[in-house]
């Protein structure tokens, strides 16, 4: 920033340099003055707590589990209540739509077809579908509404075992666009 080794710096460049230095000093003094005020008036009391949190965060151990936090292999382990749970839920639920008993782990795909909302659902009228509901016919009889398709390839979700790849993920508007139902 100070004058360069080049002895033949023109007066114009020197003037420009001086201007720049003045601006820079002014900006630095602004920041210094503000920080001084913040420190003196006690407005930065949160900084210590923040430092503590950051140190705690930096000092955490890495037992090797990067993904999923805490290991994904807890499906067969003992939970906090001392129970050992099966990978697939054994609970039986009564479907609110058709009244049939359904295994909990397969309730969602069942309901999907039952309520006629899934991609695989046929246009059979169920008890609960309102008569006036029209379907969005995209060349198939099925409604294009599908609450479960994270995968655009449309894997048959009903056959996937639970707990492996679940419905966790964001559906993009672009891949599943035009889910507009002509519902009354």
């Amino acid at each position: 920033m100070s004058s360069s080794n080049d002895a033949a710096v023109s007066p114009r460049s020197q003037f420009a340099l001086a201007c720049f230095e003045e601006l820079l000093e002014s900006a630095v003094a602004d920041v210094a003055s503000e920080c001084h005020r913040i420190a003196r008036l006690g407005l930065d009391r949160g900084v210590d707590a923040e430092e503590e949190e950051l140190c705690a965060w930096a000092a955490r151990d890495h037992p090797g589990a990067v993904d999923g936090g805490g290991g994904g292999g807890n499906k067969g382990a003992v939970d906090v209540f001392g129970q050992v749970l099966p990978a697939v839920a054994a609970d039986v639920v009564e479907c609110m739509n058709c009244g049939r008993p359904v295994a909990a782990g397969r309730f969602a795909p069942h309901l999907e077809k039952c309520m006629g909302k899934g991609r695989k659902a046929r246009t059979k009228t169920t008890r609960s579908s309102t008569a006036g509901r029209t379907r969005n016919n995209n060349g198939s009889a099925a409604s294009s509404y599908s609450p479960y398709s994270t995968n655009p390839a449309g894997a048959d979700r009903a056959s996937l075992p639970n707990g492996i790849t679940d419905g966790g993920g964001s559906c993009t508007g672009e891949e599943h666009s035009n889910h507009v139902l002509q519902e009354p």
Partner: protein, 561 residues
């Protein structure tokens, strides 16, 4: 961080204040404020201060001071000599920085602060600004909120014994805290389970339902008459009732996992009418059910929740806050302010810091011995940095010029967000899913985010942001703002973290809950106790913080609810 407090004045400042009556009066006439609120000291509007002892014709230093006693202008190198060479009895030690309107004590060689001077500066600043637009303050109908004074309470030994013996699930000796129960995955429903777990343990919401404030057996939307009506079939579902059922199940003491089938069914009946809510993003689901709960149980007397009062339904009472958006014209300083309610705050994850390393990044920094705060801090994405970014003044695009009412033309502008009213429960949504309509692709941002367990939201409040915009001056008397009560209650404690692991197409949501100061991992039906560091290493997607101290409003009606 709360209101600024003046440090005790140095002896020279005290002496000056005693000597000159009224103190600092001459300065008030010389206080001039530049367009964006920057105050300076000038005797004439176009005066160019110069250091008299300096032989240079032009300013050699950026910092010039004017002596408060004799108005002589000098630069820092001549400050000491001016103070010591004073001929009069007192007072030449105190000077003022002419470009920043800051007091300087030449004897202490340090910047000093005085509340009266700051008050004068603030008055000059506020009188120079154009009058705020009509939308600057909420409607006058905002009733003055008086609050009940906080009184600490602790049970006496007899009460404590009674509490411990009463219910095994709530006693301190219980193996696991009350309300902790796994939720069965019904087929790709971990997005729902994770959000439900967080809601189950949100203290205000939990208290509402456990306190029988919404009883599913007497809810008007579930009366038998309605059920028979075919038209009202879709409307028969009341998500609040289903949530009530889940609370009952979770807190029943039963520990085998529960299947929230009915809730899913009800949500579908509602969600099918809104095309945009069929995605299985946990955040989308969260917003969707809050919205539906509002629709189900809103109090029709308070139709608009635009004020963010939260009086319309429990969902808003718990989660709704108010954001303030200021757009300032860079030319004349005119600021247009709008308020909008929000149920959560979506934060961009600043990828810049960690971009070259990816998920393995944190390991590298720690192993390299960068345990010193300086090294780790620089490259870390933290929640507080995200919030700082959220409340930072951003220069709007040149294409998005804002029409300034004062200049009567489109000007470049600055936009700044701040929080006018904090909700009882703050939900932070970290934008990890990036959708690019241009590239027709989406990706997940995997960077690790540091988040504190205790969070003070004071720096992000509108009061703090506004104060810092005008130089953090000391206000001798705080304006009586109905929302200034939040100066006292801006401290939050974390209670739930929803994490996402895996890829965008196939991933898994897990919720970590903090109960009785222990962390529990809720992975669908599997609930296990985990150590703190597991939570810190997880990829936070949604963070839930609850106010540390809840204040109660005084009730105007005779019969308290």
């Amino acid at each position: 961080m709360s209101t600024p407090s003046a440090p005790p004045p140095c002896p020279h400042l005290t002496a000056y204040r005693l000597a000159s009556r009224p103190p600092l009066r001459c300065l008030r006439c010389c206080l001039r404020v530049r367009p964006l609120g920057r105050p300076e000291i000038r005797r004439e509007p176009r005066e160019l201060p110069q250091c008299s002892p300096c032989s240079f014709p032009s300013r050699s230093s950026s910092r010039l001071y004017a002596c408060l006693s004799c108005a002589a202008v000098f630069c820092p190198t001549h400050a000491a000599s001016h103070a010591s060479a004073s001929t009069s009895t007192s007072g030449h030690q105190i000077a003022v920085d002419v470009d920043r309107a800051e007091l300087f004590c030449a004897a202490c060689e340090d910047q000093v602060y005085d509340p009266d001077f700051d008050h004068a500066v603030v008055l000059a600043q506020s009188s120079s600004l154009p009058l705020p637009s009509a939308s600057a303050s909420p409607s006058p109908a905002l009733r003055k909120r008086r609050r009940v004074d906080y009184r600490a309470w602790a049970p006496d030994p007899a009460e404590f014994a009674l509490m411990s013996s009463a219910d095994p699930t709530t006693s301190a000796s219980a193996a696991a805290p009350a309300g902790l129960r796994g939720l069965n995955n019904l087929g790709n429903t971990c997005f729902m389970n994770s959000v439900l777990q967080a809601l189950l343990h949100a203290p205000p919401l939990r208290n509402y339902f456990l306190g029988d404030r919404h009883n599913r057996f007497i809810c008007p939307r579930r009366t038998p008459m309605r059920r028979r009506s075919a038209d009202a079939d879709d409307k028969a579902a009341c998500l609040a009732c289903d949530l009530d059922e889940i609370y009952s199940a979770a807190f029943s003491g039963e520990r085998t996992p529960y299947s929230p089938a009915k809730f899913l069914y009800s949500w579908w009946q509602h969600a099918s009418n809104l095309a945009s809510y069929e995605q299985q993003d946990a955040h989308e689901f969260f917003i969707s059910i809050l919205d539906h709960i509002h629709e189900n149980i809103k109090d029709d007397q308070h139709k608009s929740h635009a004020q963010g009062h939260g009086d319309c339904c429990i969902a808003h009472r718990v989660f709704s806050g108010i954001l303030r958006s200021d757009v300032t014209c860079t030319h004349c300083g005119f600021t247009s302010t709008t308020f909008e309610p929000c149920m959560d705050i979506s934060l961009d994850l600043d990828a810049g810091y960690n971009s070259s390393f990816g998920v393995a990044n944190p390991k590298l920094y720690v192993r390299n011995g960068e345990r010193s705060s300086g090294g780790t801090n620089a490259k870390l994405s933290t929640l507080m940095r995200c919030l700082e970014r959220f409340t930072r003044a951003e220069r709007l695009d040149a294409e998005q010029k804002f029409f300034c009412e004062r200049c009567k033309e489109r000007q470049e502008s600055l936009k700044q967000m701040s929080i006018r009213r904090l909700p009882l429960v703050s939900c932070f949504h970290i934008k990890r899913f990036e959708h690019s309509s241009v590239k027709k692709m989406s990706r997940k941002v995997d960077h690790c985010l540091q988040f504190p367990f205790s969070l003070d939201m004071a720096p992000y409040l509108s009061s703090s942001i506004l104060r810092s915009r005008f130089g953090n001056r000391i206000f001798p008397s705080e304006a009586s703002d109905p929302d200034s009560v939040f100066e006292f209650s801006s401290e939050f404690e974390i209670f739930a973290v929803i994490t996402h692991s895996g890829k965008l197409e196939g991933g898994h949501y897990v919720t970590y809950l903090r109960l009785n100061n222990h962390w529990y991992k809720c992975d669908d039906a599997w609930v296990t106790r985990v150590e703190e560091h597991i939570v810190r290493t997880s990829q936070a997607y949604m963070l839930f913080y609850v106010q540390k101290t809840l204040y109660y409003k005084t009730c105007e009606r005779a019969t308290a609810v």
